[in-house]
């Protein structure tokens, strides 16, 4: 019995070794073929966030923008840098004299992935679905478009009637990602607008068709040769939008050639590492992503303008941008990106000057008799570093402070109410549409209170009036002047601490060519590029 047992063990071991040997022997061949196939036709983008849903009407963020841009089409599209609003599914549009009625003419040759034509009815359904679900991009449209008001005048003409003039409407039209209404309706259950189905499937007309989606792994799309927009001479046949959470894995994967591109907002040390790799190119572009410290303007002592100005002069901007960020960002002292219209070029902003800050603090009517709280974001070291720099500056002013690290859901939840918003907190404002309204308009118009973007809870009737004028006017020069003036006031009253505007450092494999970067979407419209 003993012998047989030992014999069996030895047999198992030999068989195991044989299997292992076979596996190792086959491995190089398997890898070589896979690597070559991948490199020949598939563009791999490593994204740190999961593509947990493909529904273009439930999310409106930058981390999953690639699925919206590559699987769906909007009526217009933002292209290039500076961003240009370009006819896309619609070939043209008209606006009524009163600025309320927008009429779009659709292209005749636009087809969904199932071959059916894109019609005005699909656009109407898309708007009704967006408003009905009331998530993500709905916040762009629900204040100005009532459900049921969008009309299909004929098969290729659609009309939106706004409840009030909104010059920013055209800037948001690219977010009307048109879905195949017949297909979605066929997959709708219990009036759910087909949400569960569309979270895992695509009903669009975009440049790529869905091949595979696994929320935990990513999305694979194959080129749509019938797309209405002519394809460039060279393109990629497949796009693989893969979730790669760990930054070190992303960097190693790009250097190794497993991925062709990463998110363009990597920290300085990761960029340094990539720059040294001879397989990688870094494409640098000015971007539009502001980093600020919100100051709660409604809570003492921050309700005193002199305290806010003193705090703005106690932040070491150069130390943060040059020493910590290695100049991967540029100072932006106002609430509009300096590379966008509406930015007041004459505004110098506040500089780091402790003596002046102390003098300003002496003018304050309120006494600072408690430590201020600086809230940062867990896992985002840059926010913690900014918090520490702010804390050091405050200490020099004799103001005690406490840094509190929180998750984004917790922090953004608190920031929806001026009573629970922290004293000071870190925030990035990304480009969701290229219009000053996305920054100064949404952040400092007190009508918007109750949303984290208004986290400074600043209130000034004059600024409110200027923003209203900018939103309702259809005259670009009037809008430009109004946003500039509103920005000047906001900076003078130190509503927030305005720190920097991000530069985009797009890390790409060296063989990737013809990258077409646009701050809206951060270069993730992949139909233009090729693998050389």
């Amino acid at each position: 019995m003993v012998d047989s047992s030992n014999t069996r063990d030895r047999f198992v071991t030999r068989r195991g070794l044989l299997k292992a040997g076979t596996a190792v022997g086959l491995a190089p061949a398997a890898f070589a073929s896979s690597a070559q196939a991948q490199s020949a036709s598939t563009f791999v983008f490593a994204n740190p966030v999961e593509y947990d849903t493909l529904d273009p009407h439930t999310v409106f963020d930058y981390s999953r923008v690639a699925t919206r841009l590559n699987f769906y089409d909007g009526l217009y599209r933002w292209l290039d840098n500076p961003p240009t609003l370009t006819p896309w599914l619609a070939e043209s549009h008209t606006v009524s004299d009163n600025g309320l009625v927008y009429r779009f003419k659709l292209r005749a040759n636009a087809k969904f992935h199932d071959g059916s034509p894109v019609t005005a009815e699909d656009v109407v359904y898309t708007m009704e679905r967006t408003l009905g679900i009331n998530k993500g991009p709905a916040v762009l449209f629900s204040p100005i478009i009532k459900p049921g008001s969008t009309k299909a005048l004929d098969a290729s003409t659609v009309e939106f009637t706004l409840t009030r003039p909104s010059a920013a409407f055209m800037s948001t039209v690219p977010e009307i990602h048109v879905v195949n209404s017949k297909l979605v309706k066929a997959n709708t259950k219990d009036n759910d607008w087909g949400q569960p189905w569309l979270s895992r499937n695509v009903a669009g007309s975009g440049s790529y068709k869905l091949e595979r989606h696994d929320p935990a792994v990513g999305v694979i799309g194959v080129r749509n040769p019938d797309h209405f927009m002519p394809w460039p001479a060279k393109y990629v046949e497949r796009i693989d939008l893969r979730t790669v959470r760990e930054q070190s894995t992303q960097v190693l994967g790009l250097i190794k050639g497993d991925y062709h591109s990463l998110d363009g907002f990597l920290p300085a040390d990761a960029l340094d590492r990539l720059r040294k790799a001879n397989t990688v190119q870094i494409i640098e572009q000015p971007s539009m992503r502001l980093f600020i410290l919100h100051l709660n303007n409604q809570r003492a002592p921050l309700n005193d303008v002199h305290v806010r100005r003193a705090i703005s002069m106690a932040f070491d901007y150069k130390g943060f941008i040059t020493d910590i960020l290695k100049d991967t960002a540029v100072r932006n002292p106002a609430p509009v990106p300096a590379n966008l219209w509406g930015y007041p070029k004459d505004v110098k902003g506040w500089d780091y000057d402790i003596d002046k800050a102390k003098a300003e603090l002496a003018k304050a009517a309120v006494k600072i008799d408690r430590p201020l709280e600086i809230h940062t974001l867990v896992g985002l070291s840059q926010t913690e570093q900014a918090g520490q720099i702010m804390q050091a500056g405050l200490r020099k002013l004799g103001i005690e402070s406490k840094i509190v690290a929180e998750t984004w859901p917790t922090l953004s939840g608190k920031a929806r109410n001026n009573e629970t918003t922290p004293d000071i907190w870190t925030n990035w404002i990304s480009t969701l549409y290229a219009d000053p309204q996305n920054w100064v308009g949404e952040m400092y118009d007190s009508k918007n209170w109750g949303n984290w973007k208004t986290g400074s809870y600043y209130k000034n009737p004059k600024v409110d009036a200027l923003i209203e004028k900018a939103v309702t006017s259809t005259d670009q020069s009037v809008r430009d002047a109004a946003y500039q003036e509103a920005s000047r006031i906001v900076v003078d009253e130190a509503a927030s601490v305005f720190i920097y505007n991000t530069k985009w450092y797009g890390p790409f494999a060296k063989r990737v060519q013809n990258v077409r970067f646009c701050p809206v979407g951060n270069g993730q419209d992949f139909r233009w590029l090729n693998l050389g």
Binding site: A35, E50, V139, D192, P196, P215
Partner: protein, 350 residues
Amino acid sequence: MAKALRRAAAFWNGTGVWAFVLRRLAWSLGTIVGVVAVTFMVSHVIPADPAALVAGERATREQIEALRHQLGFDRPLITQLFDYYVRLVQGDLGKSLFTSRPVSADLLSRLPATIELALAAMIVTVRLGVPVGVLAALRRNSWFDQIVRIVTVSGLAIASFWLAIILQLTFAMDVGWLPLGGRLPADVTPPPSVTGLYTVDALLAGQPGTFVTAILHLALPTVTLAFPAMATIVRFTRAGMLDTLNKPFVQYERAMGLPESLIVWKYMLRNALTSTVTQIGLVSGVLLGGAVVIEAVFDWPGLGYYAVNSIVMSDYNAVLGFTVWVAIIYIAINIAVDVVHRLIDPRSAG
């Protein structure tokens, strides 16, 4: 009827394995109820607002309140908890707030990756850890034992994150033998799903190339996971064996002239394994609950990161669904460990 009841009662109170398992399962229901209640309360009292997150970054207060009402978050907590229990009994874990998909579908889509990795790590851990622990005990204080001690202390002390990156740098970047991460390359279509385990499914589908590729993708995360787990198993096995070395029954068997290999690998090991089996159970539970760091570094699409993401996003249903899964895993493993204990040492049957 009365006779049947008496027989059922006798079975219930009996010392048989199945009666034991049934009794443990019955008690486990209370555990699940308690775990769900605690998780539910904790996840609902933290100051996050999932309705606001789902509504989007620029949703108005009215829109958030409307969504809160639609999701039922404006009802009393106890009502929400009771509703959850009712749905749980029906096998409904609810829908994810963010994907609108059933949580059970989300969990099931990630479960095979977690199970495959956990199984691979456990196979390596047990197949290597137990024999090494035995040999270290038999050659106590020898150079082999010293090396094992250094390695096991390293296994417990080295951060998995660091080890994972070092393995990637060495075997994926420098030598290029193994892939950096993922379960399969993008251009390799996963085998037709039977079990969801790519290695098993590839064999079932007769795809040796895919099998090899899947094994190679498993290699680095498995080693990273198995290293600390193996350290634990080696130390417990070694300690158990040392306890057993001079037991009278061992001396008796030696006196009877039984072969040393039989004494060691059958009789001594069986006696020494009690605490090791408990550790194997605990390690299995941890692995089956998802290994967040390893999943992140190796881009492994398992449950761990889903759980973390759900917690960060305050996706209540997903958090609860994951908690129920982990509770079930631990209950099942505990029962299995107790059953194995009874098999190893019948005295523990009481």
